[in-house]
């Protein structure tokens, strides 16, 4: 479970700290930085796993526009069975005009003890007893952690990497989802928009068959009435992902994935993601999961996400504009993000007074947000977002849930 995320000099995130819980819901106006936070998780994950270099993932335009500093800093706190990991990454943009940068610090500790430390000159790999046993070749653009081979004496480091592998970041765009996957394409991690879902499902079918089975069962049981299973027949050099539905006759109805409605495609992807996150005991980051779904499907999804997070099956970090999501989750699990047009993102937890009662003039959280009243209820602009504390939280005293 991620405990916190820190970013400095990255887009609208300047000296920004986000504390995280098993279920965290990010709220705020358009442009407040919610999606930026989720996308950052995907970038750091991809960097640690060697799926991209610092040049590809952190080009100069990812620096904060009004900030003249040339260094970006990122930090993640992650708790696994082994203890509490802290991952730190610093990137220096020495020649932004030529899109050149280099990693000047990559460091991993477990409960404060070193597992990996690299600067631009020296890379040291520590064993599970935290002794610096090996010097590795330094690479200015590729994560050193991604290049460590799994061995009996670095179980702690490889456990961290597996924890990071369990991080799914989804910002669905069903319009981009294709039913076609190339024959040899192995998609171990989907793109956030899930345009490569067909390839990802092929990978899951081979590597995490139980998750695919769970997704199929869940879709059949509720979200997609009549759904029976996936199939992916060959079509030349590619495979076509199809969904098999029961029909009134003995012959089933078969649709390509991209023939389904946007809402149905979203349901297919979300069910698969939930099944995979459960199987991996991982982290699911969802950007507006209520998008595209019919109203009747939103509440069951939110309930399942809440159950999964609070029962410890996987962590959920999500953004929300949907009124149902806001009213159901925001008061207990919400963080409010806001920023001035040319200022950094600030974050504060949302709290609701326990004295909410029938004798108060109740206003729903979603109504407060829609009316622009939320920021007037105690939000303080502080020097740094890391100064968040309970006294300065966005305080809602007269709130009632959606009827």
């Amino acid at each position: 479970m991620f405990l916190r995320c820190y970013a400095d000099n990255y887009r609208c995130l300047s000296n920004f700290t986000l504390p995280l819980k098993p279920l965290s819901v990010l709220l705020g106006a358009n442009g407040s930085g919610k999606s930026t936070v989720l996308a950052l998780f995907a970038k750091i994950r991809d960097f640690i796993l060697g799926r991209g270099s610092s040049l590809e993932l952190f080009p100069p335009e990812t620096r904060t526009r009004w900030d003249k500093r040339i260094e970006q800093t990122f930090e993640l706190g992650l708790r696994l069975d082994q203890g509490e990991y802290t991952y730190r990454l610093r990137i220096r943009h020495e020649a932004p005009e030529r899109a050149l940068n280099k990693v000047i610090e990559e460091r991993l500790t477990l409960d404060g003890k070193p597992l990996f430390a690299a600067d631009d000159k020296k890379t040291t790999l520590y064993n599970d007893s935290h002794e610096g046993k090996a010097e590795l070749l330094t690479d200015w653009h590729i994560s050193g952690i991604s290049r460590v081979h799994e061995r009996p004496d670095n179980v702690k480091l490889t456990a961290f990497r597996r924890g990071i592998e369990g991080t799914l970041v989804l910002a669905l765009n069903p319009a981009l989802v294709s039913a076609v996957s190339a024959e040899r394409q192995s998609v171990t991690m989907p793109r956030p928009d899930c345009s490569d879902f067909a390839g990802w499902l092929r990978h899951i079918s081979a590597a995490e068959a139980l998750a695919r089975q769970a997704a199929e069962q869940s879709l059949a049981k509720g979200a997609l009435p009549g759904f029976r299973a996936f199939q992916a027949p060959d079509s030349g050099d590619a495979k076509i992902l199809q969904c098999i539905f029961q029909s009134g006759t003995s012959k089933p109805l078969i649709f390509r994935l991209d023939e389904l409605s946007f809402g149905q495609i979203a349901l297919v992807i979300l069910e698969t993601a939930l099944a995979v996150a459960t199987e991996r005991h991982g982290v699911l980051l969802l950007d507006e999961p209520g998008n595209f779904l019919g109203l009747g499907e939103v509440q069951p999804l939110l309930t399942r996400l809440q159950d999964a997070a609070l029962e410890g099956r996987f962590q959920v970090i999500m953004t929300a504009h949907h009124p149902l999501a806001v009213d159901f989750l925001a008061a207990s699990y919400g963080s409010w993000l806001e920023r001035e047009p040319s200022g950094p993102t600030r974050v504060q937890p949302i709290r609701v007074a326990e004295s909410v009662g029938e004798d108060k003039a109740g206003v729903r959280v979603s109504d407060l947000i829609a009316r622009g009243w939320l920021s007037g209820l105690g939000v303080q602009h502080r020097g740094t977002s890391s100064d968040v504390d309970a006294e300065d939280s966005t305080h809602l005293s007269n709130v009632e849930p959606r009827q």
């Binding site: 509440q299 029962e311 410890g312 925001a330 207990s332 004295s355 009662g357």
Partner: protein
């Protein structure tokens, strides 16, 4: 076809909701047919009372709904006091009295939900544990562990409750849990109609 929500569950928080849904789903009610409504601010007796009355009124207005199930901790206020509070509000809103067989059911965990979780978790693990309805078991670990009762105990406790026979409950069952199980059996008949 889109889902039809048949049961509205009104509770103070997620734990009550998980417990009740554990029971209902174990009894064969589809999870998608239950809509949990929990107080956005955590605990809040007034909120539960208000919402419960509102949803009972909705049940009379909309035929698609089959049942409203509420959970309200007694919390040392007295069961009869709690029952009278609800009865007064029903009357003030022109609503008839509660009857689980009509799909209008209010459970009163006494002293609170953790009393039931403590006893049921012990039962589930084959332990005969004694509980009383005045101790606050939020502060006491489950019989099998040193740590306090956690979220992970809620749903399994509800599921386990469904396996018990309310006419032959094991010795030591908290009195209000015995009553609640009887109410829940009646409630199930109502929502399955």
């Amino acid at each position: 076809m889109s889902r039809v929500c048949k049961i509205i569950l009104v509770c103070e928080g997620w734990r009550d909701s998980a417990f009740a849904r554990g029971f209902l789903v174990e009894a064969g009610v589809g999870g998608r047919n239950i809509e949990p409504r929990t107080n956005p601010g955590g605990s809040g007796h007034d909120w539960v009372k208000t919402q419960f009355i509102a949803e009972v009124a909705n049940l009379d207005r909309f035929s698609e709904g089959r049942g409203v199930l509420g959970l309200l901790d007694e919390d040392g206020q007295g069961v009869s006091t709690r029952q009278q509070e609800i009865a007064d509000r029903l009357k003030a809103n022109g609503l008839g009295s509660l009857a689980a067989i009509d799909g209008r059911c209010l459970l009163l965990p006494t002293r609170n939900l953790e009393t039931w979780l403590y006893w049921l978790t012990g039962q589930k693990n084959g332990l005969l544990v004694a509980v009383d309805e005045t101790t606050d078991y939020k502060l006491v670990g489950p019989p099998t562990a040193a740590s306090p009762i956690g979220n992970e105990h809620c749903r399994p406790a509800g599921e386990w409750l469904h396996t018990l026979d309310h006419t032959h409950l094991p010795e030591g069952c908290p009195p209000m849990l015995r009553i609640a199980l009887g109410q829940l059996r009646e409630f199930l008949k109502a929502v399955r109609r």
